[in-house]
Structure formats: structure tokens, C-alpha cells
């Protein structure tokens, strides 16, 4: 709907881009005033050849004067008599009190758009190009750095998810997962053995490891901290699921904490990710630090142990 507050917030990257563009002379442009106080007067009109410039000063919401320069091109158009007559009709309805000329409230000039032409010629060229590409496919001239596929890294479908960076990590992972598999396999057997033999109820205090007192919570927590990494420079749109997707390849994650604004629910730009294993965390740091994610270069480091 054409209300001012509808505009969804663009990504900061777009904002920077917009600020960098100089408005073309034949478009409405709004400029900040010099830090001198102006008298708010009636709009000034300067006609120079076929260019009309209207300058007005207005107070904005913060009571600051804003200079608005609008530039129009005056065109003389030959039209039929009726059309010319109609051009002189008085405005009515909701536009009754509008001054002559387009009202900024209802009429604005939008950004430049171009018609994108789709020609058959291009299609044909594409087909021709595709054929030699097919031939070369087997030879694999291009290798993606992320997934090792035969396409450019920038075209990698996993570019944003980083998914198959695991391939690179596969060798390392292969070792660690092998360890993992062995470790739990070896342990439970002796533990289960006595239970199955007797078939009797064994109070927890008498069970294997019962002699060790309730130490399970505290140290684990600390171990968790040891395998926690801090990710900073995240974009505002980041969600927990994104992080999960991003870090899962490195190992099992025990906890993800994404700092969010209480009111807006938007990300504050940093997150803590706790892995079950410190090695996984180390790999994640090596793998993701400096990784471009949603226009931003991520910074990943060890989380400092919390003070409390």
C-alpha cells in the first residue's frame, strides 16, 4: 500500500549503495541543508531555459530545516484541441486544493527501470555455448572451492550454506567420527553387563559410577564453555536455524545462543555456539572465520569464559 511506513527495511548493503548514488539532475532530490538557519518562505522558482527549479525549505520531524530542490523539465507538447482544453480543467475532489503541477504527495518519479530484452539470438548463442561446455564437463576445467563441483565457486549452490565445506573437512571428520563411534560402543557394555546378569533392581547408589557424587552437572557445564565459540558480525536477519545450518557440518552442537533485541526480536549481531567437542569448535573457527555470510564477513573466535 502506498503509505510511507510500509517500506520494508532494506539490507544495509543496499543502503550503502543507495547513499553512494548521485541523484540525476532531472529527478526530485532531497538534500540536507547547510548548518545555517533559513527562513521558511514560499517556494522559489527559477526557470533556466527549459529547466525549472523549485527550491523550498521545510521543517522535518526533528524540527530541522530541510532544503528540497525539485527540478523539472519543461516540455511543449502539441496536442489536439480537446486535450489542450482538458489540460486547463480545474482540479476537483481530493485534488481540489492542489497547486498547479504534480503534487509530491501523490506523484513521484520512481527509480530508473530498464526493459530487459529477451532475444532469440541470445537463446541460440546460449545453446551453442552449452554444447562445448557439455563436452568439457568430463574434463572438469573448473573446480569449486567449496564443494569441488565443476562450476565456479561463486556459482556454488552451497555457497551460502557452506554445507559441503565438510568435504574438505571430511578427512578430519572421518577420524573424529570414527573415534566417536568406537568410544560409546566400548563403554556401555561393561555397564550393562551386571544389570542383565542379575536382573534385579540396583539402586542408583550401587550402580556403576554411583560412588562418584553428583558431579555430572558442573564440570560438563565447564566443558561446554571450553567448546564454545563466539560468532560476531552477523547480519540482523540471522536466525538460530541459519546458525545451525552453518555450524552443523563441524560437529554436534549442544547449544546455540543468538543475542536478540528484546523488543524487535532482531539479531544483535553476535551469537555463541557450544559444541560437544572442543575439536569441532576449533574446526568451526578455522572454517568459518572470515567466511562471507549475507554480505558480512563473519568473525569467529573462542568465547571468553563467562565471569559468573
Amino acid at each position: 500500500m502506498p503509505t510511507g511506513d510500509y517500506d520494508s527495511k532494506p539490507s544495509w548493503a543496499d543502503q550503502v549503495e543507495e547513499e553512494g548514488i548521485d541523484a540525476e539532475p532531472l529527478s526530485p532530490q532531497i538534500r540536507k541543508p547547510d548548518p545555517v538557519s533559513f527562513v521558511l518562505d514560499t517556494p522559489r522558482e527559477v526557470i533556466n531555459g527549459n529547466i525549472k527549479t523549485i527550491t523550498e525549505y521545510k521543517l522535518n520531524d526533528d524540527d530541522k530545516t530541510v532544503k528540497i530542490v525539485r527540478t523539472f523539465k519543461i516540455e511543449t507538447v502539441k496536442a489536439s484541441k480537446v486535450v489542450a482544453q482538458r489540460k486547463n480543467w480545474k482540479k476537483f475532489g481530493n485534488s481540489e486544493y492542489d497547486p498547479p503541477g504534480p503534487n509530491v504527495a501523490t506523484t513521484t518519479v520512481s527509480d530508473d527501470v530498464l526493459m530487459t530484452f529477451i532475444t532469440n539470438k541470445e537463446d541460440l548463442n546460449n545453446q551453442e555455448e552449452e554444447d562445448p561446455m557439455n563436452k568439457l564437463k568430463g574434463q572438469k576445467i573448473v573446480s569449486c572451492r567449496i564443494c569441488k563441483g565443476d562450476h565456479w565457486t561463486t556459482r556454488c549452490p552451497y555457497k551460502d550454506t557452506l554445507g559441503p565445506m565438510q568435504k574438505e573437512l571430511a578427512e578430519q571428520l572421518g577420524l573424529s567420527t570414527g573415534d566417536k563411534e568406537k568410544a560409546p560402543g566400548a563403554e556401555p557394555e561393561p555397564a550393562q553387563a551386571p544389570v542383565s546378569k542379575t536382573g534385579k533392581y540396583v539402586p542408583p547408589s550401587l550402580r556403576d559410577g554411583g560412588s562418584r557424587r553428583g558431579e555430572s552437572m558442573q564440570p560438563n557445564r565447564r566443558a561446554d564453555d571450553n567448546a564454545t565459540i563466539r560468532v560476531t558480525n552477523l547480519s540482523e536477519d540471522t536466525r538460530e536455524t541459519d546458525l545451525q545450518e552453518l555450524f552443523r557440518p563441524f560437529g554436534s552442537i549442544s547449544r546455540i545462543y543468538l543475542a536478540k533485541d528484546k523488543t524487535t526480536g532482531q539479531s544483535k549481531g553476535f551469537a555463541f555456539i557450544s559444541f560437544h567437542r572442543r575439536e569441532d569448535a576449533a574446526r568451526a573457527i578455522a572454517g568459518v572465520s572470515g567466511f562471507g555470510y549475507d554480505h558480512l564477513i563473519l568473525n569467529v573466535e573462542w568465547a571468553k569464559p563467562s565471569t559468573n
Partner: protein, 325 residues
């Protein structure tokens, strides 16, 4: 090209139409105001205030004296184009979906929705006969029991009207006898829009079945098909080239769940003879609901679900462009 953005509506645009000379552009939306703009610079000439519901359709007569609008407030209103005064109020039983003047501007046609227990009707009123307006008694009322009319225009020479139905059927209703003269079913889903070529020998339909088709207006013979992958909401024929422009996009109810990039909200230009797309223009961030070519063919306008109307003056590239098959 730098489109001129018209922000006169608070809700989604339902129809836009140029007058015969192309100097004025009439726009209606799902809010109660009818807007009229100078097409040359986008200046708003005025509004026709009076409706109390969504306005579905608008039409202007050949000489740009009268404006007709049909609304969901169960009324069809006739306005004086120059002053914005309401000249006649025609009450109906259900929402008015389509309306139109014949060539002379004396006979008007409007169709009402099948709604609230009422049938879909096409009504004809002769404006020269004041009693018809006062008594709200059309000289002819054709019931359409099967499927409601979703779009309709006057056919050539004012002999009949071409009506598109919700089930994809196209019918020729005689303006004299009210009989169905000709009937075809080329579309499988609702026909959202019908627009004639400038000489009225052909017309182009826009349907929810993702196609737009070109027909001969007298024989209703199917000529060409333009395929897209999204429902087509509106289609217009260029008055100077063998081009049609199609507007649409995914259904409004699905828009919030997908990004604008994959929504396919562009206006798409097709070559009539080759039935192939040759150009696209982006801009709207919702589906396009209505399109219209300026009668001189040098500009076109589009109104979208986003509530904006955009007037586009073609770049020289468009005129230099030659279709190579």
C-alpha cells in the same frame, strides 16, 4: 525509463484505463475513490468521491465527458468527467464487477456478481431515457445462471458485449436481444481481463490458467496464445506494434510467503505473431492487476496489488527493437 509513480490509492489497484485521447488515466482500487490523472506528467486532476466500497471497474466514454464506475457497494455511478460531480446512481443487488460505455456513450452496460443469493446479471441502460435511471430499470437485464462474469467489454460496433466468465468461458451477448450469439471455452480458469485492440477487431484475454489469448472479436475465433507460468491478471494490445503486454504474478494471497524475486511481478511483452516473449519490465512489488497501453503506443501504465500505478514512457530501445525469430 523513469516511471512516474502514482500514489492515489490506499489499497490494491483493480483497474486502470486511458481515455480515447490518452491524456487522462483513470484508476480504481479496492478503496472507494476513483482517481483521474494527466498521463503526461502524472499530475492528479481529481477524484470522484461517493462510493462506499471497493471499486471494481471504471470506464470513460469516447468523448471523455462521462465516467462510469462500478463498485462492491452495490452501485454503479455515472460522473461528470470535468467537475467530478455524480450524475447518476444506479443501485444494484450485488457488487458491480464490470461496466462500459458503448461507442456513442449513450448506452451503458454493467454486470453484477453472483452474491448474497442474487444471480449474475448483465444490465443495459440507455442514458438518454431519464426514466431508466430514475426508476433504476435497465431496458434489458440478462441473467447468467451458470458462471458469473468476471470481465466484459463492448464488442465492435456496439452490437454485442464480450464477456469472460469465472469458468473460462467466453460469450457474445447481443446488446439488442440479450441472446448468447456465440460461445467458446478456450480457457480452463477464470478470465480476469479482456481488452480490445484499438480498432476493436481483436481482443486479448488474461486468465488465471496462466495464459493470455488473442481472439477475433466478431467470430470469437482463437488466434494466438501467450503462455506464462503465473496467473495472468491483465493483458493489453499495443496500438502501434504487434505486441501485447501481460501482467500478473502469483496470487495475492501467496505473495507474503515468497520473495519479490521469484514472484514474477514483471510486465511481460510478447510478440503477437510469434507468441514469444521479448521483454520484461520490473517495478511492482506485488502482482500487476491491471495494464493499459496509451492510445499512441508510446507509453503504458500498470497498476498493482501494491497499490501503486506506474506510468512508463518507453525508451528509444523499445522502438528500435526488432524481433528476430
Amino acid at each position: 525509463m523513469r516511471p512516474i509513480l502514482l500514489q492515489g490509492h490506499e489499497r490494491s489497484i483493480t483497474q486502470i484505463k486511458y481515455n480515447r485521447d490518452g491524456d487522462l488515466l483513470f484508476t480504481v482500487a479496492k478503496d472507494p475513490v476513483v482517481n483521474v490523472w494527466y498521463s503526461v506528467n502524472g499530475e492528479r486532476l481529481g477524484t470522484y468521491n461517493g462510493h462506499t466500497g471497493a471499486v471494481w471497474c471504471v470506464d470513460v466514454d469516447w468523448e471523455t465527458r462521462h465516467v462510469l464506475s462500478g463498485s462492491a457497494d452495490n452501485s454503479c455511478r455515472l460522473w461528470d468527467c470535468e467537475t467530478g460531480k455524480q450524475l447518476a446512481l444506479l443501485q444494484t443487488n450485488s457488487a458491480v464487477r464490470t461496466c462500459g460505455f458503448d461507442f456513442g456513450g449513450n448506452i451503458i452496460m454493467f454486470s453484477t456478481d453472483k452474491q448474497m443469493g442474487y444471480q449474475c446479471f448483465v444490465s443495459f441502460i440507455d442514458l438518454r431515457d431519464p426514466s431508466q435511471i430514475e426508476d433504476n430499470e435497465p431496458y434489458m437485464k440478462i441473467p447468467c445462471s451458470e458462471s458469473k462474469i468476471t470481465s466484459a467489454v463492448w464488442g465492435p460496433l456496439g452490437e454485442n458485449i464480450i464477456a469472460g466468465h469465472e469458468n473460462g468461458e467466453l460469450n457474445h451477448y447481443s446488446a439488442k436481444s440479450g441472446e448468447i450469439v456465440n460461445s467458446i471455452k478456450e480457457h480452463s480458469k477464470q478470465i480476469n481481463d479482456i481488452q480490445t485492440s484499438r480498432d476493436m477487431t481483436m481482443f486479448v484475454t488474461a486468465s488465471k490458467d496462466c495464459t493470455s489469448k488473442l481472439f477475433d472479436s466478431t467470430s470469437l475465433e482463437h488466434q494466438k496464445t501467450f503462455r506464462t507460468e503465473r496467473p495472468v491478471n491483465s493483458a493489453a494490445v499495443s496500438p502501434i506494434y504487434d505486441h501485447v503486454v501481460l501482467g500478473g504474478g502469483q496470487e495475492a494471497m501467496d505473495v507474503t510467503t515468497t520473495s519479490t524475486r521469484i514472484g514474477k511481478f514483471e510486465a511481460r511483452f510478447f510478440h503477437v505473431a510469434f507468441e514469444e516473449e521479448f521483454g520484461r519490465v520490473k517495478g511492482h512489488f506485488g502482482p500487476i492487476n491491471s495494464l493499459a497501453f496509451h492510445p499512441d503506443g508510446k507509453s503504458y501504465s500498470s497498476g498493482g496489488e501494491d497499490g501503486y500505478v506506474r506510468i512508463h514512457y518507453f525508451d528509444p530501445q523499445y522502438f528500435d527493437f526488432e524481433f528476430e525469430s
